[in-house]
């Protein structure tokens, strides 16, 4: 047990730190703390990721032959920490980096890896995740989009919803039913779909925060080449599980560092905001809640360290990732609640020129309501923890 950096890790950290100091765009307001970057920052964030890639900082734990750095997951974690500590912008291609890429690395052919991975890292091609449908959210295997083989191409029809970043994506990981007679988990195939294919319509959906970061997508007779599938026909469910493990594990890892940054900001807010004439930080009930949040966020950090050990051995995140995502999302909501309470009456405003912190905290607060829904609702994650981690009987 040693929580300090090894000499190599320390050198690595120093290198990142210096690079970030020199490269974080000056106009970045460092208030971004959410999973999906808001729509108005897309161009800036795309440039940022390109710069990260040029610096060799995208895909740190990905194999070198596909443009990654071939470094360890610990080094990836150090990178995440430094990015969070310096409040650097997030990479735009979160779904490519956190989900599509790792799934292609796990299940893709050599050609597919060559074709897709480097462009994910450079953000030349942004990815989205077309899993959820109007009738298939938590019960993802109930999806009804179909793909039928017609000569050398598949013809896809169906509707997807809540597709983050679809409006700026070039590619989509897409699940469709290829055998309608098989049991529901058995007839699904995993597609890599070119978003410029004719027949795809993307309609933005506005979120509670007011920005349109996700979309609905309509696929009408969309023709994609026969080789656009990942893995085998009708084996898509198993592959989708890899994606979801990475969504909750790999991505969750990076997010937990953001929770620390947010909490430190919140402590700052409590010190600087007056409540009944005194700094809110002096109010015992606020101190208790800040301390509780510290305990949660610290637990999250340390649980992740512990999980890293297993992750390092297996190369795959375990179902414990569901635990992290669960704690993270609920902590972020408590954090948002407390922030708005500390703001006092200004917590009723959505934006306020007199105090720009209102804008940031209100965004974090409202955005956090989605955290317990996206990437597996808290109820579904509790099911997973109960059934796969604890071995309790399946519900129903």
């Amino acid at each position: 047990m040693d929580f300090r950096d090894s000499p190599e890790e320390a050198a690595f950290r120093k290198e990142i730190r210096e690079w970030l100091e020199a490269n974080i765009p000056a106009d970045w307001d460092r208030s971004q703390l959410s999973l999906i970057p808001p729509e108005d920052r897309v161009d800036m964030l795309r440039d940022w990721q390109r710069r990260l890639h040029e610096g060799g900082w995208a895909g740190i734990s990905w194999p070198k032959e596909y443009g990654g750095r071939g470094a360890t997951l610990i080094e990836q974690a150090i990178f995440n920490q430094e990015v969070a500590r310096q409040k650097a912008p997030p990479p735009i291609n979160v779904i490519g980096l956190g989900m599509a890429g790792p799934t292609i690395i796990n299940h893709g052919s050599h050609e597919q890896k060559n074709r897709y991975l480097e462009k994910i890292l450079s953000a030349e091609e942004i990815w989205c995740q077309g899993f959820s449908e109007p009738g298939a959210g938590s019960d993802l295997a109930g999806l009804r989009s179909t793909a039928i083989l017609d000569g050398d191409s598949w013809i896809i029809n169906g509707q997807k919803v809540w597709t983050s970043l679809a409006h700026v994506s070039q590619w989509c990981i897409f699940l469709a039913r290829t055998d309608t007679t098989a049991p529901k988990h058995k007839g699904i195939t995993y597609f890599l779909v070119d978003m410029s294919s004719p027949g795809i319509e993307v309609r933005p959906l506005r979120q509670i925060t007011g920005s349109a970061d996700f979309n609905e997508m309509f696929f009408t007779d969309v023709r994609v080449p026969r080789e656009s599938i990942l893995g085998e026909v009708n084996d898509g469910w198993r592959i989708a599980m890899t994606t979801l493990l990475h969504e909750r594990g790999t991505l969750g890892f990076a997010l937990s560092v953001g929770a620390r940054v947010a909490l430190d900001e919140l402590i700052g807010l409590a010190r600087e905001t007056k409540k009944n004439g005194k700094p809110a930080f002096e109010d015992p009930t606020i101190r208790q809640r800040l301390a509780s949040l510290h305990v949660e966020v610290e637990s999250l950090r340390l649980n992740n360290y512990r999980a890293l050990t297993g992750f390092m051995k297996s190369g795959m995140p375990g179902p414990e990732g569901s635990l992290s995502k669960l704690i993270w999302s609920e902590s972020m909501q408590r954090l948002g609640d407390l922030a708005v309470e500390i703001l006092g009456p200004a917590g009723m405003l959505e934006r306020w020129d007199a105090n720009p912190r209102v804008n940031t905290w209100q965004f974090i607060h409202l955005r956090s309501r989605g955290h317990t829904i996206e990437a597996g609702t808290s109820e579904i994650l509790r099911n997973i923890v109960a059934e796969r981690v604890l071995g309790l009987p399946k519900h129903k």
Binding site: M1, D2, R4, A291, S299, L323, N383, A386
Partner: protein
């Protein structure tokens, strides 16, 4: 960065689990609950022979010179097994206080004695007001020729009836800052002017006592640490002690979680195992979250204290909050999952719950430790 245990540490855990599973049964716990002193001399000796009391005591002080991490591993296993023993009061509480304050020959005698199991000690902090902070210390030590005269009433002193020595926290000077003017004295329970009365304690295997000190004369060489300046040293030692409690709470929570999980698989109602109902399975999932939080924060605290890193005190406070709340909430959940049977005297659930409650409140309830967390924010 490495959050793993060494092979030796894993082996220590394994042998501790085997020993405690065999020896610290709930049958023994129940016998000791009903006994006069709650103490099993034979078991104490066996643990002493294993060297357990000396785990985290330095070699030059007569211990094994391992670290707080090894001690936490042992104590976690003790928590699982509900070990009835003054191990915590002597090894987890008195030893770090003595290690932080005593020197010379006395240090060797005390720590060597604790390490070998031949001497048992405890620490007396709160008084009738029930405060754990410096302002609550009213017991008085007045200088007399060659030493001090000590008077006061201490309450909630763990295992005082089993201890040879009590470290008494007293006031030697009146100052504006209550943290100043505090000194520690080593008082033998054999002194006729020390009266120990055990209290009806929620965990009957870990009795708290009322200790009346009526003008005991303490020679100057039995003062531990500087006169008037002992509070900061005590506070640091209590970080260590709180981490030991957190380890015990972690073990306890883990055991209750396992019992509840197993029961939820076996117990059938409405033609299904109750674990198939989300009201139960989600509750158990939350119990797992708390238990994992307890484990992670506890071992980090043990490491941080051992290495003396800057956030050690914050880490200890964090662990105390996380683990003691986990033990309480998990054992409450465990009781609920068990239904009527978990509410009975015969079922073991209340034994865990009683211990959890003791561990949660000792050294200060979670609100006190959360306040400490907040006071340590950068």
């Amino acid at each position: 960065m490495d959050f793993g245990f060494t092979e030796e540490q894993e082996a220590l855990r394994k042998s501790a689990r085997e020993f405690l599973t065999d020896r610290s049964t709930t049958g023994l716990v129940r016998d000791l609950m009903a006994s006069k002193t709650g103490f099993d001399e034979k078991l104490w000796k066996e643990m002493a022979d294993l060297g357990w009391m000396g785990t985290a005591i330095a070699e030059e002080d007569g211990g094994l010179g391992l670290s707080l991490i090894e001690l936490a591993i042992l104590v976690e296993e003790m928590g699982r097994a509900l070990l009835p023993s003054p191990f915590y009061s002597s090894v987890g509480l008195a030893a770090p206080v003595i290690a932080a304050t005593a020197d010379g020959a006395l240090r060797k005698t005390l720590l060597g004695g604790i390490a070998s199991g031949e001497l048992r000690a405890t620490v007396a902090i709160p008084e009738e007001e029930g405060r754990w902070d410096a302002a609550g210390i009213k017991a008085k030590a007045t200088p007399v020729d060659g030493g001090y005269k000590l008077s006061g009433t201490k309450v909630f002193v763990p295992d005082a009836h089993l201890a040879d020595e009590i470290v008494v926290v007293a006031r030697t000077g009146k100052t504006k800052d209550p943290r100043e003017g505090i000194s520690l004295f080593l008082v033998p329970t054999s002194d006729r002017k020390v009266k120990v009365k055990t209290l009806d304690t929620i965990d009957r295997t870990r009795r708290l006592a009322l200790v009346k000190i009526g003008g005991v004369e303490v020679p100057v060489d039995r003062r531990l640490g500087p006169e008037g300046g002992a509070w900061p040293l005590l506070e640091r030692a209590l970080d260590h002690s709180a981490t030991v409690l957190a380890a015990e709470a972690t073990g306890l929570a883990t055991k209750v979680l396992e019992l509840s999980r197993d029961y939820a698989k076996e117990r059938t109602q409405f033609d299904k195992p109750i674990g198939a109902f989300q009201a139960i399975s989600h509750r158990i999932a939350d119990m797992l979250v708390l238990t994992e939080n307890a484990r992670s924060t506890t071992y980090y605290a043990a490491w941080a204290i051992e290495e003396g890193v800057p956030d050690a005190a914050l880490a200890a406070a964090t662990a105390k909050v996380a683990a003691s709340e986990a033990a309480r909430v998990v054992s409450q959940g465990g009781m609920q999952v068990h239904g009527g049977i978990g509410f009975t005297w015969e079922h073991d659930m209340h034994l865990y719950y009683r211990r959890a409650k003791w561990v949660e409140m000792f050294l200060g309830d979670p609100s006190i430790w959360r306040e400490r967390v907040a006071s340590l924010f950068a």
